[in-house]
Every structure is written in C-alpha cells, then in structure tokens.
Symmetry: C2
C-alpha cells in the first residue's frame, strides 16, 4: 500500500475563543501554527475563529473534517462551563469522555505546588475522550488531546500561547512527523542589510527551478529569512539535500548572512559577535529612545558585553551628557551625519566601551522639513575609534520608522565589527 | 414595518491572503475589525482566513452569506492575477465588473504624484462590480467596494493595515452606522494600578445588572480598560445613558482612572501630566534596558518633558555613570529597594530633571535565587526629591516581565506626581 503522500496532507487551524471575536486579543496562535505547518510541508487552506458556542463550534469542526486531514484547535479547554472544545470535538467523533487518572494527579500536583486551592470545576479538565492520546501540559492544567479516526486527526491544545507553544513543540510536532511517509527538514538562512526585493531577485532563479528542496522568503523588519525545506525518506537524506542549497545561499549573500540557526535573532547574533571578540558596547539613542538598548538587553546573558545606554533625546542632553558643542548642533542640526558621528564618538569615551552605536532621526509624525523629511535617520557606529555613519530613509508610522532604525542599527553594528576585523587581519597587520 | 434590530445584526470577518495561511504575517486586521464591530454593537460569530484561491474563496463567501448579515473582507484587491476577491465577491452576487472612470483617474494620479510608471495590470484595480459603492483609498491604488443585495452587505477592503484602517474609519463605519435602527455610542474608562481580577470584582454588580449601557472589561499589560456602550435613538440620548455610568466608574476607581479618551495611552497620560505641571523627566533603567524611555518617546511632542535616559545595565555603569557606591551595591545587591532609590536619586541630579523613574529587577530566564526569584522588580520614582520605591513580583517570559515593569513604572510615575501635588496643595502649603 502506498501511504498517503505527506505533500498532499492538509491542515485546518481552528482558534476557539469569544475574546478573539471581540478583538480583545490578536490571534498569534494561528500565525504560529501556520508557520510551523508550512515548515513541516503541510498545506493550510483555512484558518477559522469561532466562539465558545456549542452549535457553531460543532459545525466548524464538521466542516473542517470534510475538507482537511488534520485539525489543529487551540482554546476552550479551561475549567469553566464555557469551555467546550473537548466535549464538542469528542461528539464530532462519537466518543464519550472518561476521567483520566494521570491527568487528575497532574492537576492536583499543579495546584499543590503553587499553594492554590482546587475547586470542583477543575476536575472537568481531567476528563478526556475514549481512545485519545493525552499530552502533558507542564505550564497549565489543561492537557492536550489527539484523536484519530478514519485518517482524520484532531489535535486539541490550550489557548494561552505559553502553554500551547511548548506543547506543540514537545508533543504535536513529533506526532505530525510520524504521520508522514517521508521526513521534512528545513533550515533558515537569515539575512540583514539587504532589502526584500533585492534578496528575492538574488534567488529568483533558485525559486523558479525549485523542486526539492524548496525556498521560501519571509520579510521581517530590516531582515529577510530564506527557508530551505527538503523532503526525503530519512532525516540524513533530507539534510543532504538542504546542505548544498544553504551553501549556495551563503555564497550569494556572503557577510549579510548572520545565522543559519532558527533560534538566533539578529540581536543575539550581534551580542555573540561582541562576546566572541571580547568587545564591550554601549548605545546612544535619540529617535529610537531606548528601543535599541532594550532589544540588545532582551538577549539573556548580555551583561557580559553591554554596559551602558544613553537616551539623549533633547539637544540639551546631547550637550550636557555627551559634551557635544552647541555650534555643531546649530550648524548641522541634531539629525545629521555629524551629530550621529559625535554621539558615537563621545558616548564610547564616556562609557569606556569598544563599540558604540548612535541613532538620530525624524520619526514623525511632525518635525519633518523638505530638506529633512520624516523618516530621515542617521546611524553611527564606532568600533575602537573607527566611525561609520549610515544615512537611511524609512517610511511608515512613528513606530515603524523607529523599529526599522533599530534593525538597521543592529545590522550596521555587525557589519562594522566584521569590517574592522577583516581590515585588521588582512590589511592592518604586516605579514 | 419594524426595522431589523441592530443588536440582531451579525458580521463575519474574512481575511484573504496566502501569506496569512503561511504564517508569514499575523492577522491584526481581524482583531482590529472585530474590536470595531464590538464597539458598534455588531455580533461577530466567525472570523475566516482563506488564500487567494477562486474556488475556496467563493465557498467561504457563500457560507458567510448564509450565516451573517454583513461580510467584511480584507485583502486580495491588488493588481496581480492572484488577486481575486473583487471578482469572486461579484460572482457571488451575480454582478459583472465595469471600468470605473473616477478610480482610473485616481490611480493615474497616484502613480503620477509618485513618479512611478503605470503597468497595464494596474487598470484591473479600476474595475468594480455593477451597482456597488466605491470607496476612495488615499493610501493605495485599490479602491474599497460595498455591495448590498437582499439585506446582505459585502464590504471589500485592501489588505495592508495602513490602507484598510483609514478606509474603515472614513467610509465603512459611517455606512455600518446608517444600517442601524439606533445609535451605538461607547466610551472607555482606562485604569492603571489595579489588577484585572480586582477591577472585575469592583464592577461585578454593574455587569450583573447591565442592560443599556453595557460594560465590557479588557485586560492589557498593567492596565484594565472598561468600555461602556449604550444604544439609543440618537447620539445625544446614547451619551446621556453613558454619562452616569462613566461617573460611577470614575468614583469607584478614583485616581486610578488615567483617561476616558480612547486615543490616550498610559504613556501619553504621563507625558501630559508632566507637561501640565511643567515637570521635566528622565529614566534610569536596568532590567527594562531602555523599554521605558522608548515607550515615553513614542508620544509625539515628548521632547518638551523628556530629557535623558540612562541604561545602567551593568554594576560598573551604575557605579561609574551614577556614582552609586560599591559597598551599597555589594551589601544590598543590584536588585534591591536601596539601589532603585539610589538610581532614582542620582540620575535626577545628573540629568537635572524634576522627575526620575528607575527600574531594577530579575527578568530571567536565569539569575534568580530563592531570595530574589525571577520576576522580582523594584521601581523607584523621584518627584523633586521625594522618592517612592515599589516592590513588584511579575511572572512570565523575560519579555513579559520587562513589559509588565514598564507599565508599572508608568503607573507609579503618575501616582507619585499626583500624590506630590495633592500633598503640596492639601498638606504642604499653609492656608
């Protein structure tokens, strides 16, 4: 018998919760699950959102079962009477619920460890459908459920992302992988300092010719991610297919590739680069007002390299804190190549760090002029006295301009450090 | 004839785009439209996401027409062959498309103004269904469309949020308002410094007794929003119903109410409070690493009050930049009431500002101890020498703990400034 081809399997994502229908929360679960499914090579044709309503939820599940092989549901597994997902999904498969002793024990333990009192309705969460797979939930009291019947698979996960995401990664991904007649393996090449359309044009020949592996491009603020996905009989074979494509992409994008590790963010790549070269860093921000230091400090363990951040938003603080001369400010204006340079120079001296990045720009909505329009930003980077300043023109809202600036600043930091060392190694030292 | 009651009208939100199904973007449009519909008193029972596929889109529209009065679609109005929403929606209503001269002219102008060349496929966007209402799109080339037939209303909007949101507010909201046999009016009471469950318990009697107006609570990080919505024959009457409830809520939550204006954020309320009292401010951050200053600086015009931000992440920078004594750091540790106090004291002197807020805490995932666990945060606030320090215990991821800290810091700033002035007025001055 030929097993159903993985590539032909389809998934439907159903998010359950009245709070989503009220616009109270943004449905990030659906985006997360969709991205993961795409990575697994599953085709998703529909996402649905439905409230905690028995009839409408039942109809939604029935419809999804008629058009998809795998249903991924999140939400509606709580202890209240409103939470109906498990009951309705069991009904759609004609299954009864029974008390699952292990889950009951896990719930008891969860409450005990936190010194909380268990109320009677909590035991509702220990009821599971006959013949299902129960998935542990170390981050909450609702267990996950997988039901399978007639080649249809229904996966129930709790709604809170901090419970759903670990459960998906630990239990659902391996289950979905076992369904397939082949192995899917993907790896992402993350690029900075190259625009989306340029990146796409640089791989258009690969995309046009792609069969296995495939390449998908994802545009992020200031970054482009290229995901290479291969199908094969086993993982070793799939990795073998992915490897030359990764090598090809690395060759095309050179130093713009900051990682091929899914877990590494741009700020982590920068922090790692600083640490690897035993460099300390500081930031001095005007228009980004702390967003750049905040992003660096989101990397655990950053204290080894990041020392100080200055937010010199006013001209006065640029003068007082950094000692930038009034006449330079008056002559060139706070948003200028010269001030970005002065900021990067003086802050590095003040904080006694090897590297310093500065930002100054017009984030809007007001403050633009014909000469210096909203979106004009200068970013300075000082690596041991060698200062580079980049002029950027961003568009969008005040937040968008500031986010673009932060990404560009991280990108520039990386580039300047790499250049500094390549010069020292290849040009600066005598052989 | 009795017009159909507004409260009985239902809406279904359909987002069209393969990029959503790939998890490439998060569906913020659906959350935005849902929240707006809830505000208008419309009931939303389903949100759907479907790709740019003729057959599946047609089935989705047909199903939605069978179960909702109003369909709000976004996406799929672009100039390429993939963009099918208009064609498929017209087909569902049995309508032909024709060339809309005004739209053609608007597109021509849009390109001319930007010095861009028009390609032939752009004229596809000037084709509209017979008998429809065409909505202008000043931010793009795809016009919006409203079709109505047999008491069903189909609204087509472009996918990019910066085009969809203005179009919804300018053209779709008034259209939906005209459909109703009564007026819906709502106002939001925004509260800080009170937990979600406490806030809910403080209004549970009102919620239990609610008919018209209704109250809905929305929990945000560090904030709770209470939305009061009334239905009446005209706006004047609806406002009259809302007013006493707002007054009641203001009485219950007192100074914790920071605004009743939908447009005002917590950071804007703080900036306005500073400006109204002619106070200048600075920030000095450890665990939040610039997030607090970044949030304040997201308020346009903040330069009047915000002067300088310090990110003193390392102990060395706390000593060097702020001059905090080594023995105090050693004795109490960087995460302590004393250091939060020292930070708020020294940074205010250094930056010469009236107000200074400090943060120091353990954001995790590492660095926690039994005495000082992950999530322990101290926030200091200095208003003209009067320093208050608050100890907080937050939970969640590193980002979540840092976000909670920022909201709590803004809340504390507000509270300390209000207390400072009430003391000066009622206690500090002789009468």
């Amino acid at each position: 018998m030929i097993a159903k081809k993985w590539s032909a399997m389809t998934v439907e994502i159903i998010s359950v919760g009245t709070e989503i229908l009220l616009g109270n929360i943004v449905n990030t679960n659906a985006a997360y699950l969709s991205e993961k499914c795409a990575g697994l090579g599953l085709s998703c044709y529909y996402q649905d959102v439905v409230g905690d309503n028995e009839e409408r939820l039942f109809e939604t599940i029935k419809l999804a079962l008629s058009r998809a092989d795998i249903l991924l549901l999140s939400g509606g597994l709580g202890p209240t009477q409103d939470d109906l997902t498990k009951e309705v999904a069991a009904k759609a498969f004609g299954k009864e619920l029974y008390l699952h002793e292990e889950t009951k024990e896990a719930i008891r333990k969860f409450f005990e460890e936190r010194g909380l009192e268990i109320t009677d309705n909590n035991w509702k969460q220990a009821m599971v459908p006959e013949g299902c797979i129960v998935m542990e939930n170390p981050n909450g009291t609702a267990p996950g459920i997988i039901m399978a019947q007639d080649n249809k698979h229904v996966v129930l996960m709790p709604g809170p992302p901090n419970e759903m995401v670990p459960m998906f990664e630990t239990s659902v991904m391996p289950y979905l992988s076992r369904l397939q007649s082949c192995v899917i393996y993907s790896q992402t090449v993350k690029i900075c300092g190259v625009g989306e359309s340029k990146a796409e044009s640089m791989v258009s020949d690969l995309i046009a010719a792609q069969t296995n592996p495939t390449i998908a491009t994802y545009a992020k603020t200031g970054e482009v991610h290229l995901r290479v996905t291969a199908r094969a009989e086993d993982e070793k074979e799939a990795r073998k297919l992915v490897k030359p494509m990764i090598k090809d992409l690395k060759g095309r994008f050179g130093n713009h590739v900051y990682t091929t590790d899914d877990e590494v963010t741009l700020e982590k790549a920068v922090v790692d680069l600083l640490a690897a070269n035993k460099l300390t860093a500081c930031t001095v921000e005007s228009c980004t007002g702390g967003m750049l230091s905040a992003r660096l400090i989101n990397v655990p363990g950053v204290s080894e390299v990041f020392k100080t951040g200055y937010v010199t938003y006013s001209n006065k603080s640029k003068r007082r804190l950094l000692g930038i001369k009034k006449n330079i400010l008056l002559k060139h204006g706070a948003v200028s190549e010269q001030i970005a340079r002065e900021m990067a120079k003086t802050a590095a001296m003040l904080a006694k760090t090897d590297v310093c990045v500065s930002t100054t720009g017009i984030a809007g909505p007001d403050g633009g002029t014909p000469e210096k329009p909203v979106g004009l930003v200068y970013i300075g980077c000082n690596v041991r006295g060698k200062i580079t300043v980049k002029e950027c023109h961003f568009s969008g809202s005040r937040s968008k301009i500031r986010e673009s600036t932060v990404s560009a600043a991280l990108s520039l930091m990386r580039q300047c450090i790499l250049e500094y060392y390549s010069e020292v190694t290849f040009g600066g030292k005598e052989k």
